[in-house]
């Protein structure tokens, strides 16, 4: 097992280095000048000379390869550099926003799992009946509703029915759990719905597949009750692919809340990403993209390790 873990860990490193290099060069060819945006966006009469001075101050006048070397050396010390916009450390800028996104992602995952596991099981048990069909249509429509539109509808609904909206501004859950949850529940719900649809479909097909396997047939043949078969044998084995989907979707949410955070005015990673793109803040963008890729790779790794722990056959390959 240890050997497997080490081998898997070693495989992660080239992927991350690849991402780091690709991101640097991709983003540097981006058209537009972040300094011009910073200084001229509000209409100020800033001269060309001043713009050059600011480029120099930020180190953007250095040759690309020098900037690249600085950046890679920084990475070895886990230093992501400084934001071109605020001049403060990229890691710091991200750290301020990370808790919001993380919490919404966790809450959305919980919502999805609570909805999807029972529904997916129902589908598999009552396969091809009206129950199955209704749930499947709901799931397909869950995949179809744009998250931002659902978010807008939720906001409109809250305003229309309760004349209430959550307060703006993030409060830590440890400080004021009620305010925190009442604000973050709605964005979590708006992404959780789609997320639940994905997991429901996976739950259904995984269960159906497992139920076809020999040991289930054996259990049935032995006369074990159907409900017991489903619970004891089916569910446990079907959960493995479901865990995978949940893990990957969770990883995607860390970077993928872009639109939801816009709709609900949340100060998270997604909003930072939109801002950084609009401003052409290279360094911050690099940091964000690296973070998103790292989260994904780590979650992937954990899923793989979990598989290996549960299924000894994997370790051999």
């Amino acid at each position: 097992m240890l050997g497997y873990i080490v081998r898997r860990l070693l495989m992660v490193i080239p992927t991350l280095i690849g991402v780091a290099v690709a991101v640097f060069f991709l983003i540097r060819v981006m058209p537009g000048d972040p300094v011009v945006v910073k200084l001229r966006a509000d209409g100020a009469a800033v001269t060309e000379e001043t713009i050059q001075a600011e480029r120099k101050r930020l180190g953007l006048d250095k040759p690309l390869m020098v900037q690249f070397t600085d950046y890679m050396i920084g990475l070895t010390r886990l230093d992501l550099g400084k934001s071109l916009w605020t001049g403060e450390s990229v890691a710091g800028e991200i750290a301020i926003r990370f808790p919001v996104t993380l919490q919404v992602a966790i809450m959305a995952t919980l919502i999805a799992v609570f909805i999807a596991v029972p529904l997916g099981t129902l589908c598999a048990v009552y396969r091809d009946t009206w129950i199955d069909n209704v749930i499947r249509v709901l799931a397909v429509s869950g995949l179809a509703i744009p998250g931002f539109w659902l978010g807008m509808l939720i906001i409109l609904g809250l305003l229309y029915f309760f004349n209430w909206l959550p307060k703006i501004g993030y409060v830590s859950i440890f400080e004021d759990p009620v305010a925190n949850l009442s604000a973050l529940f709605w964005p979590a719900l708006s992404v959780g719905y789609r997320y639940a649809a994905v997991v429901t479909r996976m739950m259904r097909s995984a269960l159906l597949e497992v139920m076809r396997e020999d040991y289930i047939r054996t259990a049935r043949a032995k006369g074990v009750y159907e409900s017991l078969v489903t619970r004891r044998h089916g569910l446990r084995n079907a959960l493995l692919p479901v865990v995978t989907v949940v893990g990957l979707e969770f990883a995607f949410l860390i970077g993928g809340l872009v639109v939801t955070e816009q709709v609900f005015n949340l100060n998270g990673i997604g909003k930072l990403f939109v801002d950084a793109t609009a401003r052409g803040d290279f360094t911050l963008l690099q940091g964000l993209v690296l973070l998103i890729a790292t989260v994904f790779v780590i979650v992937n790794l954990l899923v793989d390790l979990l598989y290996a722990a549960l299924d000894p056959r994997i370790r051999l390959t």
Binding site: G32, A41, D42, W85, T86
Partner: protein, 526 residues
């Protein structure tokens, strides 16, 4: 069919906040307001955004500032200066300063602090960014005859110099701190303003607290303030929900109506003109825009008066004006403007004329690319309106609405036929408003690529004028030429609509969103 009454809220509008607020101010309370953007840095000399002015200007003082309101008139008054004198030849400015001004750390402020702060603006040390240094290049040297007197000696007269001294961006820093570290203001806030700095939580809020050692007795009235950084679309709900009581950049007419219906009698609306306009610029380096007939035709096709009526109900666009803000003492009246292409009242006649001009120029079915900024208000309505107006004379426009970054890139590289841009400043000042109409070598902001030495000459004449009368003469001549040659031409000027809780008293509605943010005289009636 239900027709919406778009002007339902205007009954409550007090034009420009001209209410006589003669009540005795009350002390205490915290002012909560929203700021719809965030400043990139906290160094006053390096920022250009209102997102700095609103939360941070209360910490600082400047030599001069503005007082009054947008509709009845604004004038320059002293902030740190108790009085000032301009030499007849325009070559020196002498300021007497308030005695007993203290920084928030208790150290006294003297004329040397003013001198060192201005020197930082004029000649920033290595590693320091000063964005407005070009505006102060006619200053030769700064003298400090005594602790309460500052004298600015000029190389040549500058008709806009006093306006620039009243800029909200020239915060006075501590000379002693700057000596230790010229980058000090990027990290720490230390001013002489009415409020001390408490905290700035990125993406969340900014808090200021009353400064007990402020140099004006009994000011400020407030205990403090809290500025919330929110996205623009959250202002309405935040105000109706009572989380904050104002937003001081400006709202759209629709948001005003929502706020008035949501806040009921607590809403106080003030409206007035804004020293900001949308203008469109032709790429004169490209055919057929080198032909003045084409440029005139494209300006003529626009029903500015009709557009003003309709757009002012759904967007920030409102006033028909020339190169200077309608209402400013040097600006032309509506009647005077009518003679210029695109400013007349008979739109059908103008469109016939425009079609004829295009035919004459050999481009009856012109296709063009309009580059616009990807910001909803008011660029999108402006672009949609322009395209629709041009379609009516058979011109087909491709709308290239770009992110701010790509937008500026297109401007610099000349990758456009027509460019929809904006001018925004803190005061009516011909020098800053005309900058975009100059030949490229003379102005880094000029986008059209034309060369017009006559306009450059007139610009220099007005900038060096010693009297208002003389300046007016040159300003008029400049404007005549600009509106006839049509390298760039204003579409519409913006309206500034502010909705606040009526308990916020003595807040001044200015003609721009940068000034009037020091909160010295603001108080809460509660």
């Amino acid at each position: 069919m239900r027709k919406l009454t778009l002007l339902s809220a205007t009954a409550l509008v007090a034009l420009g906040g001209g209410l006589a607020e003669a009540q005795t101010p009350k002390k205490g309370g915290t002012l909560n307001f929203a700021v719809v953007a965030e400043p990139p840095t906290i160094d006053c000399h390096a920022v250009t955004t209102f997102a700095f002015a609103h939360p941070a200007r209360p910490h600082y003082s400047t030599l001069l500032k503005w007082q009054g309101n947008a509709n009845t008139g604004q004038k320059i008054v002293g902030d740190l200066a108790t009085s000032w004198e301009v030499a007849k030849d325009g070559l020196s400015y002498t300021f007497k300063l308030h005695p007993n001004v203290k920084f928030h750390d208790g150290s006294p402020m003297t004329s040397n602090d003013v001198k060192v702060s201005y020197e930082r603006i004029i000649n920033p040390p290595e590693g320091v960014l000063s964005v407005r240094r070009a505006l102060f290049q006619s200053i030769k040297e700064i003298e400090t005859p005594d602790a309460n007197t500052v004298v600015f000696k000029m190389k040549s007269p500058n008709a806009s110099q006093l306006i620039n001294f009243a800029s909200p961006w020239n915060c006075i820093y501590s000379a002693a701190k700057l000596k230790d570290d010229p980058k000090f203001p990027e990290k720490t806030i230390l001013g002489t303003g009415a409020y001390t700095f408490v905290e700035n939580v990125k993406g969340s809020h900014w808090i200021g607290k009353r400064f007990d050692g402020y140099f004006l007795k009994d000011r400020p009235y407030l205990d403090g303030y809290k500025a919330y950084f929110v996205k623009s679309n959250a202002v309405v709900t935040g105000m109706i929900g009572g989380q904050f009581d104002g937003e001081f950049r400006g709202r759209t007419p629709k948001e005003r109506d929502q706020l008035v219906s949501g806040m009921k009698e607590n809403a106080l609306v003030t409206e007035g003109p804004w020293v900001t306009n949308l203008l469109f610029t032709f790429n004169v380096a490209k055919k057929p825009f080198d032909d003045v007939r084409v440029r005139r035709a494209l300006s003529m096709a626009i029903d500015r008066h009709g557009g003003s009526k309709a757009l002012s109900q759904i967007s920030m666009l409102k006033y028909v004006g020339g190169l200077l803000r309608p209402g400013y003492e040097l600006a032309r009246t509506e009647a005077e403007l009518e003679a210029f292409p695109g400013f007349g009242k008979d739109i059908n006649k103008a469109r016939e004329e425009a079609k004829r001009l295009l035919k004459e120029a050999g481009v009856p079915n012109l296709k063009l690319k309009l580059v616009n900024r990807n910001v909803a208000e008011p660029y999108t309505p402006g672009g949609i309106f322009l395209i629709d107006q041009w379609r009516r004379i058979g011109v087909e426009a491709e709308h290239s609405q770009l992110e701010t970054k790509l937008y500026f890139d297109a401007m610099r590289s000349g990758n456009f036929d027509v460019f929809l841009e904006f001018i925004s400043d803190f005061a009516d000042d011909p020098s800053s408003q005309f900058d975009k109409f100059l030949t490229k070598e003379k102005s880094s902001r000029s986008a059209s690529g034309h060369t017009d030495k006559e306009m450059d000459r007139l610009f220099d004449l007005q900038a060096a004028a010693l009297t208002m009368e003389e300046r007016k003469k040159h300003v008029r001549a400049f404007e005549d030429r600009a509106l006839s040659e049509v390298y760039s031409v204003p579409l519409l000027w913006w309206q500034r609509i502010i909705v606040r809780h009526k308990k916020i008293k003595d807040w001044e509605h200015h003609n721009n969103h940068f000034t009037a943010s020091d909160l010295v005289n603001v108080w809460l009636d509660q």
